[in-house]
């Protein structure tokens, strides 16, 4: 077993023996399920209305009417739930004074940060895979294209990984879990708001840079079915950068 595996196994064990993960998962799944059901009901109502009174050229399909709004809503839920999953990663270790033991162990900082990051990614991937029951159930009754949905899940995974890396960094900065959660929530909110700020600034270089820095534009493009390498690179580089920043924050603890 490599050091990363050891850390991941330890983190997963501690996550799954605590009821917190289950409660978060149940709330997440209930909200997503409700949103999916209400989007389906809305799509159905709109279809009935449009077929009666409007022309049928409207894009009456579940990809546009259900999954796209659902992916947007899940993104908002992730912004609240993922800081709760990441807040304890380093903050708890520091509070329980086990962080010194970890840092003085033969395991390197790289392995520690990677292991912690991987463990939350695994929990999050499990949550995401549970939501796949929504399109699977719907496919029994409705016709839709799977390709935008696969891409939507890629977007959800990358978005989640970015938010987790931000949470990882925030958790590495403090020993207080609440502060870590608020810090990561604030960073995520700030990053989200940059998109709106870019829209306000308008069609200028600054506006474009601000919009590009925000994940909104990249996430929106992916869930609309447009696979652009720049969006993938945005997420991958953002995750790598935040991972590196978290690494530096953990490393700094050794010489402070």
């Amino acid at each position: 077993m490599t050091p990363v595996h050891t850390i991941v196994a330890k983190e997963l064990r501690s996550a799954f023996v605590s009821p917190v993960v289950y409660v978060i998962a149940a709330i997440f799944l209930a909200i997503v399920g409700l949103l999916a059901y209400s989007a389906a009901a809305n799509a159905s109502n709109q279809a009935i209305r449009l077929m009666q009174i409007q022309n049928t050229y409207a894009q009456l399909n579940l990809n546009d009417m259900l999954f796209r709004p659902l992916f947007r809503s899940i993104n908002l839920i992730l912004m609240i739930i993922l800081p709760l999953l990441t807040m304890r990663l380093f903050a708890e270790e520091r509070k329980l004074r086990t962080f010194e033991l970890l840092l003085t162990s033969p395991i390197g900082v790289n392995e520690i940060v990677s292991g912690k990051f991987m463990s939350v990614i695994i929990v999050y991937s499990g949550l995401l895979s549970l939501t796949s029951l929504i399109p699977i159930t719907l496919s029994a009754y409705a016709t839709f294209d799977w390709r935008p949905i696969y891409l939507g899940y890629v977007a959800l995974f990358l978005q989640g990984a970015l938010l987790i890396s931000i949470g990882l960094f925030a958790s590495a900065l403090t020993e207080n879990q609440i502060i870590a959660a608020f810090l990561s929530f604030g960073c995520i909110l700030g990053l989200w708001m940059l998109g709106a700020l870019g829209g306000i600034v308008g069609d200028t270089t600054v506006g474009h840079i601000l919009s590009y820095l925000s994940f909104s534009e990249h996430y929106e493009r992916l869930i609309r079915g447009l696979f652009n390498l720049k969006d993938i690179l945005y997420y991958v580089s953002g995750i790598a950068f935040m991972w590196f920043a978290a690494h530096q924050a953990v490393d700094a603890y050794r010489w402070k």
């Binding site: 159930t137 390498l229 690179l233």
Partner: protein, 502 residues
């Protein structure tokens, strides 16, 4: 004093660095701020020289600076990578509607746009057309720097909707210079044609024939054609009536004869034929109320109109009268190629073609009633009913198109005649029915040879309505809302209970 210098210096330097981003023109102010900030910081360092050099020698400062520098360097690398990707990254369209992929012809049109075009979409997020418009229009805007795109929610900005005279949600106004075209669906062909139309300086003229009891363009009653006139104006045409005194009236792209109730004079018949010989195009709409007043005009073309009224038990409007035809059978033609909505023809006559009489014409039956239709010959009957042996059985043609036969394989004049056995479908009372608007505007566009601008293969509109029955709804509620969260909670409770018992 020293600390104030440090704070002021930092703030001034930051403002000096950030100012050019927001105000590219204000270069001198930025330099002044940077200069002042640097002076303040130098002052601060001078005051704290000893303590700063001592601090710089400590291990934690060196390591901290190294760490900060590493993060900044990583940030620069990430920024450079993203900058390159933003410029050159390829993309693939995985959307169901392929709304991000434009045709080769559209790219050609976008590359050769002669002037700026403004697209204003009146829609909002909850509207069914929003997604399609967002995908398609942003793709257009991305491909051409001459296109500016604005989304307006007509409920939040009613003044804008009023200014543009937009009364229906999901309307796009394409404008350039004095030209404006209104569109109500996210079709690439319509959008590209609109771009071409608004960037042309000359408007095509659609002229309504008058003087023989025709339906009037200025009549705002339900039997009038004011809405048809407005719809054509919004499509970028110049709309008016035929001035019989003006010999230049043949410059019109299309002549419309909207159900004359009096016989068209011989002179005017001659003028219409002259118009056709010069390659003109004519739309003739005939209500049963016209009687035989238009026969002298249309008989030489080989066209005959049924004496009775068409009735259809199968394709009719709801449970209404069988004479309210809901025509949904179309021949493959440019005018009707992507029709999915039926056309409502109230009280129609059948259109037939006599090949012997109309030797020089080729006939295309565009729209037909169902085989369950019949021609009601007893016009005094209060309730139309099929009488075997008396009423002819369908299907009947309601709209037919005449185009000249090619002579000696050589191309002939581009004249055409569209005959519709009904005029009411285009009146104020019925034009708002979606199929009617589409048919009327598409027919005029084809007659005005607008479709010759760009003819794109229509994309699959991705029409997959989802209407679950009650048992399916229950299954959705169970699997999506209850099953997974409860299962997760149950597992969580079991784990918690087991841990407590340890």
């Amino acid at each position: 004093m020293a600390s104030i210098l440090g704070i002021a210096g930092t703030i001034l330097v930051l403002i000096g660095l950030g100012l050019p981003l927001f105000q590219p023109a204000g270069g001198s102010l930025s330099s002044i701020l940077l200069g002042l900030g640097t002076l303040c910081l130098l002052g601060y360092f001078a005051f704290h020289f000893r303590s700063l050099t001592a601090l710089a020698r400590t291990r934690s400062t060196r390591l901290g600076a190294h760490s900060l520098f590493s993060v900044l360097l990583a940030g620069v690398v990430v920024a450079l990578l993203n900058f390159l990707a933003a410029k050159h990254a390829p993309e693939w369209d995985f959307s169901e509607t392929q709304n991000f992929t434009l045709s080769r012809q559209t790219y050609q049109v976008l590359r050769t746009l002669p002037r700026e075009v403004k697209m204003t979409a009146f829609t909002h997020e909850g509207s069914p057309g929003y997604g399609g418009y967002q995908d398609l229009l942003t793709t257009y805007a991305k491909e051409s720097p001459l296109i500016t795109l604005t989304f307006i929610d007509p409920e939040r900005q009613p003044d804008k909707a009023k200014e543009y005279q937009v009364t229906r949600i999901d309307t796009v106004v394409v404008e350039s210079g004095p030209q404006k075209v209104y569109l109500q669906r996210s079709s690439e062909a319509d959008m590209t044609n609109a771009l071409l139309r608004v960037t042309q300086d000359k408007k095509k003229r659609i002229a309504f024939v008058t003087g023989h009891g025709e339906k009037s363009l200025t009549d705002t009653e339900s039997s009038g054609l004011s809405r048809a006139g407005d719809a054509l104006t919004k499509q970028g045409y110049e709309v008016g009536t035929v001035d019989w005194q003006d010999t230049a009236s043949h410059e019109a792209a299309v002549l419309i004869v909207a159900s004359s109730t009096e016989a068209v004079s011989v002179e005017h018949q001659h003028r219409i034929r002259q118009f056709l010989e010069k390659g003109g195009r004519v739309l003739v709409m005939v209500d049963p109320a016209s009687g035989d007043s238009l026969d002298p005009l249309i008989t030489p073309w080989g066209i005959q109109l049924g004496a009775g009224i068409l009735a259809d038990e199968q394709d009719r409007l709801g449970r209404g009268s069988p004479t309210a035809l809901l025509v949904r059978t179309f021949t493959t033609h440019d005018i009707t190629e992507d029709f999915t909505t039926p056309i409502l023809f109230p009280v129609s006559r059948s259109v037939t073609f006599d090949t012997a009489q109309g030797k020089t014409w080729e006939y295309v039956a565009l729209a037909q009633t169902s085989p369950e239709s019949w021609e009601e010959t007893d016009l005094n009957s209060p309730q139309p009913e099929f009488t075997a042996g008396q009423d002819p059985k369908g299907p009947f043609t309601v709209a037919g198109l005449l185009i000249p036969k090619p002579v000696d394989q050589s191309p002939t004049a581009q004249s055409a005649i569209l005959i519709v056995g009904n005029a009411a479908f285009a009146t104020n009372g019925y034009l708002t029915y979606p199929g009617n608007t589409d048919f009327f505007l598409k027919a005029i566009a084809w007659l005005a040879q607008e479709d010759a601008l760009v003819s794109l293969t229509p994309k699959d509109p991705a029409f997959h309505p989802f209407i679950p029955n009650p048992s399916q709804e229950q299954a959705l509620v169970f699997f999506q809302v209850l099953f997974l969260p409860l299962l997760t909670l149950f597992i969580g409770l079991s784990v918690w209970k087991r841990r407590r018992s340890l």
